[in-house]
Amino acid sequence: MRELDLQIAERLLDNGLTVIAVRNPTAQTFAASAVLDVDMRDEQEAERGLAYLIGECFDEGTRRRSGVELAQALDDIGCSLAGHCSGAAVTGPAKDAEPALALLREVLFEPSFPAREVARVKDEIRQEIEVDLADPRAVAQQRFRREVYGPHPYAHPEYGSAEHIARHDPEALHGFHRRWYVPRRGYVALAGPLELDRGLDVLAAEFAGLEGTATDHRPAPEPGLPEPSNVHLAMEREQVHVFVGHPGIRRTDPDYHALVVMDHILGSGPGFTARIPRRLRDEQGLCYTVHASISHTAGEEPGTFAAYIGTSPAHRDRAIAGFLEEIERIRQDLPDETELVDVRDYLTGSYVFSFERNAQLARHVIRAKRLGLGFDHLEEYPERIRAVTREDVLRVARAHLHPDHMVRVSAGGS
């Protein structure tokens, strides 16, 4: 099988923004993604939910046009734009990449945060919070993160709380935006059919003129290993949603690749090939959805090790026992050679499928840069996976899975 052969080029602009072009020669569409050096970690306690609110308000209007006029401009070229707490992304037909990039720049760096629209979006977020409070899976997940992350900002939902949202006004949005949403240490990637040099020129022409002084981040406190706990939140539902786990790893952890392999042996392989889904769904029929992983959430900050199942209340204890037994087993015994080979074959063979879409390409290259891994790392991934041994899997399972520090949270039927 052909190995991945990515065409990528980058340029650091004078204002500190890095622009990245990825060539996907036969694509009829493009994707552009902008990620700035800001997220919920930069919020003070009173500012909780501000970055999320800003992301939701990016398309509510700019200094040049109202939210409706912006939507019309995007509709005119068949493009879609969505904001998030660290930036925004736009997709559309390849021929319209340039006007779409201009709109992306406008929403990111010239938002107007109109008072009426901010008030409306705040109401929508309050409603989103209400919906989550009635959803046992969301309730369980939020409580799990609170227990796992302790003092770390990720203990809180990205949208803050209803009380926090009520306090944020357009002035607060403008202040936080001025301080954090600046080009320095940010990235904009364009993936599509454009030649690399042309792609970089287009990006530079659009983003070079911006200015702004970057603020330094406060380091987030490390989430230490929690004391074991067992929380059940009773809600009258057909199913109960269970999370079992503890803090995980950063993406830059040297054990990352071995943990990806471990995850796929333990709980996140395709179909029902991994041990936990095979046991709890395929053999015991306890659920429709079940998985476990430590590598999936690894980022700049520690992720979580989390095993999840949605099952009938009568099966809750059996499911948790199944999780704990399989976690113990992977810490005690070397995996079979066939399990290891199967997983390595899957991960190396399927890697190409995560580069099929322009949006995936843009996301991959920005992530590689933000994490300081470099573009070569993207092409070297299969080789690193192939180098993982059975002994590596046992070693990282023992080093990174902590049965004595498991947080167990469930919500739903009792």
């Binding site: 099988m1 052909r2 694509a27 009829q28 569409t29 939210g67 409706v68 939507a71 019309q72 509709d75 005119d76 070229i77 068949g78 493009c79 997709t91 037909p93 629209e117 409306r120 109401d123 929508e124 409603q127 919906v131 409070l133 009635a134 959803d135 046992p136 929380v231 059940h232 939140l233 009773a234 809600m235 009258e236 539902r237 057909e238 199913q239 395709p270 179909g271 029902f272 090939t273 095979r278 395929d282 053999e283 029929g285 306890l286 429709y288 959805t289 949605g310 009938s312 199967d342 997983v343 074959d345 899957y346 063979g349 399927s350 190409v352 499928f353 580069f355 099929e356 879409r357 739903g412």
Partner: protein, 426 residues
């Protein structure tokens, strides 16, 4: 915009649609059976979907779990889905090993084991999937609305089936259903990717040519009579949000009105500049979310409106606002600018349906299975959208979306009060 399709027809009735696409060394292989929840009778609802689960539980050649294991070892992915009108299975694999997918499909077309013990175990998984849906407010609302839109036609029952049918159905019933509905003359292969056309054709003949046709024709189903008036239901779901779904029966996939209703859907609710969003979300702030879906099917489908209401807003105000907006379109039409934007949005969406080999295979397969005239109709899409004018939108609103034909489901908060309290430590 529409890829070149190489068509193959075997003497046993199997069709294959092959598309060569070499931008990446991958192949998407899919097979589409012309059977879905539409074909289920009383007492056997949910069988199409349950059978789809069982197709991974062992065949004469592949033991239980082996299909997933083989796919995984080859670095690929597979999945399946059941619809009202069809059941589809697909693999995404590297181009140097994709033919294993064909071998698997050839084996499970007629030789799925449907082992009784596996059937009993998988029944629990399906019941858990059902419970998951019952806990989801929108799933409950959609199912209730669909059962109002269709009183006679089998689209009345949910794809996953009625709980009692699933609990009671014996394995023998599923075996009979499988024998009656899975065979070469009920299937179409759709393969898109870095393939050698001649070799692929040869392998299809070799693997599927020996299968006998199952014969018979897909049974006719009862048509849905013209509604005599609007139909309404109120349900209770947990939480504090009031939701509203309004649906009306429309047309078949690929009919002239289908394209008109796609354009109408964009004009009404695609993005912040759309009519319903501007009026109901931005100006009157009656709802926080509004959506429309044109859902054509093999038999007449439905047009959907969905709303999440702002706190304190009475559902009747939302209905009134929708009536006013539809009346506006019916009486005055829409502007050329709105039409142009809607066409641009639809054309752009059409491009994204071609982004990966699997996207392309799924689009071709769906059109071929659900649209009279098959996948060839894809070539007409752009010109069909271009032909939609304001007068057509006016007439579609008058014909399909009169409030007299609405099916309205209101979901009020209160599921918690009736079923117990909200979250609390225990």
């Amino acid at each position: 915009m529409v890829p070149d399709v190489h068509e193959l027809a075997l003497s046993n009735g199997l069709r294959a649609l092959l598309v060569r696409r070499s931008s990446l060394p991958v192949v998407a292989s899919s097979i589409w059976y012309r059977v879905g929840s539409r074909d289920e009778r009383t007492g056997e609802t949910g069988l199409s979907h349950f059978l789809e689960h069982m197709m991974f539980k062992g065949t004469d050649r592949y033991a239980k779990g082996e299909i997933d294991l083989l796919t995984s070892r080859m670095g690929g992915s597979n999945n399946a889905f059941t619809d009202n009108d069809l059941t589809g299975y697909y693999f995404s694999l590297a181009s140097d090993r994709w033919e294993t997918a064909l071998e698997i499909e050839a084996s499970r077309m007629r030789n799925c084991l449907l082992d009784a013990a596996e059937f009993a175990a998988e029944k629990n998984v399906v019941l858990e999937e059902m419970a998951m849906g019952e806990d989801d407010p929108w799933t409950s609302i959609y199912r209730r609305t669909e059962s109002l839109v269709y009183q006679v036609h089998p689209y009345h029952h949910p794809i996953i089936g009625w709980r009692q049918d699933i609990e009671r159905v014996p394995v023998e019933t599923m075996r009979g259903y499988y024998r009656r509905n899975y065979g070469p003359d009920r299937a179409t292969l759709v393969i898109v990717g870095d393939i050698d056309l001649d070799r692929t054709e040869g392998r299809i003949h070799e693997l599927f040519g020996g299968e006998q046709p199952i014969g018979g024709v897909r049974e006719a189903v009862l048509g849905e009579p013209e509604p005599e008036g609007d139909r309404r239901a109120t349900i209770r779901t947990p939480g504090t949000t009031t939701r509203l779904a309004i649906a009306a029966q429309t047309c078949r996939m690929g009919e002239d009105d289908d394209f008109t209703l796609d354009v109408l859907s964009c004009v009404l609710a695609n993005g912040k500049a759309s009519r319903l969003f501007r009026d109901m979300v931005l100006e009157q702030q009656l709802v926080s979310e509004v959506g429309t879906v044109n859902e054509p099917r093999l038999d007449p489908g439905a047009f959907w409106f969905t709303f999440e209401l702002s706190p304190g807003v009475e559902p009747t105000r939302v209905e009134d606002a929708l009536r006013a907006q539809l009346r506006q379109v019916e009486e005055h039409g829409v502007s050329d600018e709105e039409l142009r934007r809607a066409r641009t949005q639809l054309t752009s969406a059409f491009l994204f349906e071609e982004e990966t080999a699997l996207d392309s295979a799924l689009r071709i397969g769906r059109w071929d299975a659900q649209c009279r005239g098959g996948y060839r109709r894809l070539a007409e899409v752009e010109t069909r959208y271009a032909a939609v004018d304001s007068a057509r939108l006016q007439s579609a609103v008058a014909r399909y979306l009169s409030p007299m034909t609405w099916n309205v489901v209101t979901s009020l908060p209160g599921g918690d009060a009736e079923r117990g309290n909200g979250a609390g430590d225990a």
